[in-house]
């Protein structure tokens, strides 16, 4: 897997994988052709285009074998924590205890896409009263019921308050079905009043100290529950070590993002970068391995950048992407339309920023949790988008709406307005359902129009 990088079909990637295996090239224990996942029902894999590097193959295999790791962890006597909604905070705490492993049941929102709706999760959700007016994360409820996608957690936590209503309602429905949940409050982040003691959060937002204190006390309840589950107290020293390890992941990812989003030609496709960013929120259930996976990916991107080679032609339109897509294939479409990714805000920028190491660990985690872009005003989020889009040199912004998500109704217009005002960049809003094939012509047309606008502006 060397030479000029390119995007491959799954069959082409699997042939390369077989060749590597036949040649005795060392591979991770979980590595193998992606076709085995198609056999398990992951049919969307057949329609995606992949980066041709060994690093990307490892990334995909790491992602697609998470369920196996969770079952292995349980078999090995480790306790499983299902952390819901906070996207990046509780896993840092859970992985600070050696006999806990944490994952996001929320991740099931991609299952209908990956299995092209063959798994029936939305149908189960519908039968529970969670219909298609709700965010695709309702698939999570179906996954709890049919127990076919992850082992049932030993402890469930869920942040509520300033979160999306879809998730809160779905989680409450789960609790009503007999899945106890430790709810913890996430206040609506606000600007400190004049003369009110305030703290600076990772990423640059500011919040009243009183809000940080509240989140700290809520996380203390989570800490007590994790300690009880683990059978040993979660001491500050262990937490500090956990924060250092999390920062290691975030540091590698930060370097990877900077290089992948700025080098020209584009050294790593948008789809692989999306998967890589996701590793930051819970390490795909193996923190040490996520470091290794990201490191190999970073090395590959560095090599390509040094050699001035990429997976796309040089000069592709540089687009910033807001919100994760329910259909992974749309990240391929972006590139098919002549664009490349140039910065992202996938709703978890707080999981990408370094957690302060010069503060008591619970204080640091509380500040990080409160920096969640979902818990503050849309204008805060827009400010972050503006800052990062400027830093990465974006030429256009795509706001990808999540069908049914309560936050998407108004925030896209706010973000788009601010981006236009502050940066003068063209903005397009899209809505991406879990399997976007019926909307393909529309999505393609809108993305192509944005690309044309971007390229046209270069000549003026």
């Amino acid at each position: 897997m060397s030479g000029s990088p390119k995007r491959l079909t799954m069959e082409e990637l699997d042939r390369l994988c077989h060749r590597r295996q036949a040649a005795g090239v060392p591979m991770a224990a979980y590595a193998g052709p992606l076709a085995r996942h198609v056999a398990d029902g992951d049919r969307r894999l057949l329609k995606l285009l992949y980066d041709d590097s060994a690093a990307a193959l490892r990334l995909w295999n790491f992602l697609l074998t998470e369920e196996d790791r969770l079952h292995e962890a349980r078999a090995a006597g480790r306790k499983i924590v299902g952390t819901m909604k906070d996207l990046g905070t509780v896993p840092v705490m859970a992985y600070a205890l050696p006999n806990l492993v944490a994952f996001y049941p929320d991740g099931a929102w991609w299952t209908p896409c990956v299995m092209e709706l063959s798994e029936g999760l939305f149908g189960i959700a519908q039968s529970l009263g969670l219909g298609d007016a709700m965010c695709p994360v309702r698939a999570m409820a179906g996954a709890f019921i049919n127990r076919a996608h992850f082992p049932l957690p030993d402890l469930l936590t869920c942040s509520v308050g300033a979160t999306c209503d879809d998730f809160s309602a779905i989680a409450q429905r789960l609790e009503s079905l007999g899945y106890p949940i430790l709810w913890w409050e996430m206040p609506s982040r606000r600007q400190p009043d004049p003369d009110e003691p305030a703290a600076t959060l990772p990423g640059g937002f500011r919040a009243p100290e009183s809000q940080v204190a509240l989140v700290r006390s809520e996380l203390d309840r989570v800490r007590a529950a994790l300690s009880e589950l683990a059978g040993s107290p979660l001491a500050d020293e262990a937490l500090a070590a956990g924060i250092r390890e999390a920062n290691r992941v975030r540091g590698i990812l930060g370097r990877l993002r900077r290089l992948a989003y700025t080098a020209d030609p584009c050294p790593m496709p948008a789809l692989e970068m999306l998967i890589a960013e996701m590793l930051a929120i819970h390490f795909c259930s193996d923190r040490a391995e996520s470091v290794a996976v990201l490191t190999e990916l970073l090395d590959e991107v560095r090599r390509r950048a040094d050699e001035h080679v990429g997976v796309l032609p040089a000069g592709a339109a540089r687009l910033f992407w807001v919100n994760p897509v329910a259909d992974l294939r749309v990240m391929n479409l972006l590139e098919d339309c002549g664009a490349r990714l140039c910065g992202t805000e996938y709703l978890f920028c707080h999981a990408l920023d370094a957690i302060p190491q010069d503060l008591p660990p619970m204080e640091a985690l509380a500040r990080m949790a409160l920096a969640d872009p979902m818990v503050g005003p849309s204008a805060d989020r827009a400010a972050r988008v503006v800052r990062d889009a400027r830093a990465f040199g974006a030429e256009g912004v795509v706001v990808s709406r999540i069908p049914g998500a309560s936050h998407c109704a108004l925030e896209g217009a706010v973000i788009g307005g601010i981006v236009r005002d502050e940066l003068g960049l063209p903005v397009v809003e899209l809505e991406v359902p879990p399997v976007a094939d019926p909307l393909w012509p529309t999505l393609k047309t809108r993305l192509e129009a944005l690309v044309e606008t971007v390229l046209d502006r270069r000549t003026r």
Binding site: L128, G129, L130, G131, D132, A133, M134, V160, G161, A162, T163, D165, D166, S168, A169, I170, Q172, R173, E175, S176, I181, W183, W184, E185, P187, S188, R190, Q191, D193, P194, S210, L214, S217, E218, R221, G376, P377, S378, A379, D380, A383, R401, P403, G404, S406, H407, C408, A409, L410, E411, G412, A413, V414, G416, G417, I418, D421, E429, E431, P433
Partner: protein
């Protein structure tokens, strides 16, 4: 005296009144979000997927520049975000900390704000953080601290921070008025009771044309002949102005509402205050009366709601439940199926879409469930479903 408009039952009227400001809990007019004269703001992209109630309340705030302020709450995500939208639309170009107490960074007006952005001058907006959790002391403290912050906002508006005695007296006065209201509700038809609560929430029966807060005065104080029919409970989110017609639609279909569990009904009345504790710490008494007791679908866990429903459904002998919810309201959408399970009663899930002609779905297809309610035309469309439901219950 300045007036503060709000819609959430978790905003205590007596707290506002104790500051020398007039509280008016309104039922927003769906027409307030109509394209004219504020179409450039509310008729643009954000109409897609926006809760009709949140949109109507936004519209009401934007069209009530004479109001002293508007209070939104975080009890639902859409209202939380609507506060930001309304605050910025009212005060383009100002720091949000001034435009929206509890907001964000400076901003220069909503996109395509057109006439409204250049107009500005709407009321200041306050976003009150009502915690979703309620079983911990920290949650109650947060609610109390938010009341204090609201108090500072009211003082900034020109109000006066109340002394402990003044606060206690105000609480007592409201408690007495509320006790009288509770006593009267049993003698009124469901529609009359709903409208009595609406008038109570407005603080008086006087009409302010500027604020467009009129509630139809269609009943005398007591109705000797209450309607008869198949007893049903109406449970769910808040009513908008004019929505009390739903009670008539139900009666025409042969039903009668014996339990109003909407957000606008008796369910969200705060608990009576404890007169002995009132003098010691009136603020905490206020916290207990509101935050400690009002059952709602957004609370986590939502046990209070189901305790209340279990008790009240049994007492009312309702034979069926109609869930009144707005499209895109996730909280009540999820509650409908659970109500079927927990009560064993037939449930009609009545999704209210405001004016369907102006409320397309986020996916550009028909609103799930077909849409109903809110506007007169919408209510007429609901009639068929209600009629069928009543036939099932007979």
């Amino acid at each position: 005296m300045k007036t503060v408009v709000y819609s959430s039952p978790f905003v205590p009227a007596e707290w506002i009144a104790a500051h020398g400001v007039r509280p008016r809990r309104i039922r927003p007019d769906p027409a307030a979000a109509s394209p004219s004269p504020y179409g450039p703001v509310l008729g643009a992209g954000p109409i897609m997927g926006v809760c009709p109630y949140a949109r109507a309340f936004m519209g009401e705030v934007l069209s009530a520049p004479a109001a002293g302020a508007a209070v939104f709450t975080t009890t639902c995500d859409q209202m939380r975000r609507a506060a930001e939208w309304a605050g910025r639309a009212c005060h383009p170009g100002t720091a949000t900390s001034r435009a929206v107490a509890g907001g964000a960074a400076p901003w220069h007006g909503p996109p395509k704000a057109g006439r409204l952005a250049s107009r500005g001058g709407g009321p200041p907006v306050f976003l009150m953080n009502v915690p979703a959790t309620w079983q911990t002391p920290a949650a109650a403290r947060l609610y109390r601290d938010e009341l204090r912050r609201l108090g500072r906002f009211l003082v900034h508006l020109g109000g006066t921070a109340p002394s402990r005695d003044r606060l206690a007296e105000t609480l007592e006065a409201y408690d007495a008025r509320r006790a009288a209201l509770r006593g009267a509700l049993g003698t009124l038809s469901a529609r009359q009771a709903s409208e009595a609560i609406a008038r109570f929430d407005l603080g008086s029966e006087k009409v302010s044309g500027t604020l467009r807060l009129k509630v139809p005065d269609t009943f005398s104080d007591a109705a000797p002949d209450l309607p008869r029919g198949t007893p049903v409970a109406l449970v769910g989110g808040p009513l908008m102005r004019g929505d009390s017609r739903i009670f008539d639609v139900l009666e025409k279909a042969g039903g009668v509402v014996v339990l109003d569990g909407t957000e606008s009904g008796a369910r969200t009345l705060p608990a009576p205050v404890d007169r002995r504790r009132l003098r010691d710490d009136p603020l905490m008494e206020l916290v207990d009366a509101y935050f400690g007791t009002i059952p709602d679908a957004f609370r986590r866990p939502d046990a209070l709601l189901y305790q209340w429903l279990g008790r009240e459904l049994a007492a009312s002998a309702a034979r069926g439940i109609i869930v009144w919810r707005y499209v895109w309201c996730d909280m009540w959408a999820a509650a409908a199926a659970r109500l079927r399970e927990t009560t064993g009663l037939p449930v009609l899930d009545l999704d209210v879409s405001g004016d369907p002609a102006r409320q397309p779905s986020r996916l550009g297809r028909a609103v799930p469930g077909g849409g109903a309610g809110a506007s007169p035309a919408g209510l007429a469309r609901s009639a068929g479903r209600i009629q069928a439901f009543m036939e099932v219950l007979k």
